[in-house]
């Protein structure tokens, strides 16, 4: 099977049904045959990671309620806390763009607009995640 025109004429049936469409044309736009489950899996893996990270973060925020900036900066700068914050940030913004992508795919029917929304969201998530990560790293390497 190549990319040539596929003419279907089953044996023993009238030969008037002719699909003037190439095999390539039929599959184009439906995504890769092998990476189709990647998005689904990544959404679940990030969700699993976020379960303990969220619990830790909520407890940590509660423990530092009303604290001044130097206290928060020192807390966030400790290696374990910084690592957990980086993991939280990475998982949150990864999960966020994966989730929003599904929302767009369900409701935005114009493909150019949908793709634009997905790309813009990926860009915003990447930048917000990087900003938050740089902030955590700055606190982690700062002298206290």
């Amino acid at each position: 099977m190549g990319a040539g025109t596929n003419t279907t004429k089953p044996k023993g049936q009238p030969g008037h049904v002719t699909i003037m469409r190439s095999q390539l044309g039929r599959v184009r736009g439906y995504g890769s045959a092998h990476a189709g489950s990647h998005h689904w899996k990544a959404e679940r893996v990030t969700a699993i990671a976020l379960v303990p990270l969220t619990v830790w973060f909520v407890v940590a925020v509660l423990a530092h309620l009303g604290a001044e900036q130097p206290v928060i900066a020192a807390w966030a700068g400790r290696p374990l806390n910084a690592a957990l914050l980086l993991a939280l940030v990475a998982m949150t913004f990864h999960h966020m763009h994966l989730g929003l992508q599904v929302v767009y795919e369900d409701y935005i029917h114009s493909i150019p607009r949908r793709e634009a929304a997905i790309l813009a969201t990926k860009g915003v998530c990447l930048l917000l995640g990087l900003m938050a990560a740089v902030a955590v790293l700055k606190l982690a390497v700062a002298a206290h």
Binding site: L65, Q69, V89, F93, V103, A132, L139
Partner: protein, 146 residues
């Protein structure tokens, strides 16, 4: 018809006129089961949390920028608008958290029996309400004590 799938959505009515079939569930006349509410809430809270993630990024960047920037974000959170948003985000976080765990259990192939769907929806809603209340009461008490 723009989409080949639209062909499945049209039919002839009793007067032989071509009409669009109602989409199921026809939400205009449908009595919402609690599971439908649970499903749309998971998506709605996910969208709310996406907006809330701006606060997470802002809070971390402010903490790394210095006392003035940090005081600004703390002042915003303590403002009436900030508190309302924070309450909404707390509830959204817990709903998405418990609803998300439920989705993971479903993905593992468990808990899909029809009889368990309504009770577990109420468990998720109850856990959300209790956790939100617990966190806000604990926060209020720690601020009053501190």
């Amino acid at each position: 018809m723009n989409d080949i799938r639209d062909a499945l959505l049209v039919a002839r009515n009793t007067e032989a006129k071509l009409v669009r079939r109602p989409v199921s569930p026809h939400i205009g006349i449908y009595r919402w089961p609690i599971t439908m509410f649970a499903s749309i809430m998971n998506r709605a809270t996910g969208i709310a949390l996406s907006v809330g993630s701006l606060l997470l990024a802002w809070w971390l960047v402010a903490a790394a920028s210095g006392p003035v920037a940090f005081a600004t974000v703390q002042g915003f959170i303590a403002s009436p608008l900030g508190l309302v948003l924070l309450l909404g985000w707390t509830a959204s976080l817990f709903y998405h958290f418990f609803g998300g765990i439920r989705h993971l259990v479903w993905d593992a192939g468990h808990g899909l029996a029809k009889s368990s769907l309504n009770p577990w929806t109420w468990v998720v809603l109850g856990a959300t309400a209790l956790s939100t209340l617990a966190v806000w009461v604990a926060g209020y008490l720690s601020l009053v004590a501190g």
